[in-house]
Amino acid sequence: MAKLIFFGRLADITGQTEQVLDLPANIATTADLRAWLDQGHACDGVLLETSIRLAINNDIVHEPADVDNHDEIAFMPPVGGG
């Protein structure tokens, strides 16, 4: 199972802060994942924005990166500081 985390406004848009699920076999990269989730949550392109960065297992990745069904994948809008 993969764990997805949506930070900031993305939780409001997707309707959840975390989601644990099995990634379909055809989701191999961050690009696949973004497109699949954006459509699944009817996000209207928000999850495709380049300002949204992805972290895999707590490290920000250069995209496209490979995703694995055991990863924790975080969707991170621009950080606003404290």
Binding site: I5, F7, G8, R9, D12, A55, N58, D59, I60, A74, M76, P77, P78, V79, G80, G81, G82
Partner: protein
């Protein structure tokens, strides 16, 4: 030395504890940030701050290490609130100790600029008629950029 907490804290108590830790220093500079009761256009009744552990802590630790390499600091402490806060609540406490004041002032200022611009936090303001996730402000980036300008005049 770096503490992210979802519990309210008392900056006066933090300063007293830091003074004990930093015994022998000649200067302590501390900064306390409080939740503002309004933003540029409307009142703020609640502030919610979200972090991503341990990524957020790792970033703050790296900034603290950077500060210690730039200035002769003997001790540093950073406390940052996460979770739900109200106006007037302490949100951040930074203290730096050194033999002389300049290093402590600059290290504290540098760390606050990091915390206000680059630290991994997401912030939501709620008011009587709005609830908004706050995006970075341009002047925050300028504050942070001045440290690189100083190095390369």
């Amino acid at each position: 030395m770096i503490d992210l907490t979802d519990q309210p804290f008392d900056p006066a108590e933090s300063l007293r504890a830091f003074q004990v830790q930093a015994a022998g220093a000649g200067a302590i500079v501390s900064f306390t940030g409080l939740v503002r009761p309004n933003n540029t256009s409307s009142p703020v009744t609640r502030l919610y701050l979200q972090a991503y552990s341990p990524m957020t802590e790792r970033g703050i630790e790296a900034a603290a290490k950077d500060a210690s390499q730039r200035w002769p600091i003997s001790h540093l402490t950073i406390t940052h609130r996460i979770g739900d806060m109200g106006p007037g609540d302490p949100i951040v406490f930074v203290a730096a100790a050194s033999a002389h004041r300049r290093a402590a002032f600059e290290a504290a200022d540098f760390l606050m600029d990091y915390l206000k611009t680059e630290a991994i936090f997401w912030k939501k303001e709620t008011g009587p008629d709005h609830a908004t996730w706050i995006e970075p402000r341009l002047e925050d980036y300028r504050d942070s950029a001045r440290w690189t300008q100083k190095e390369h005049p």
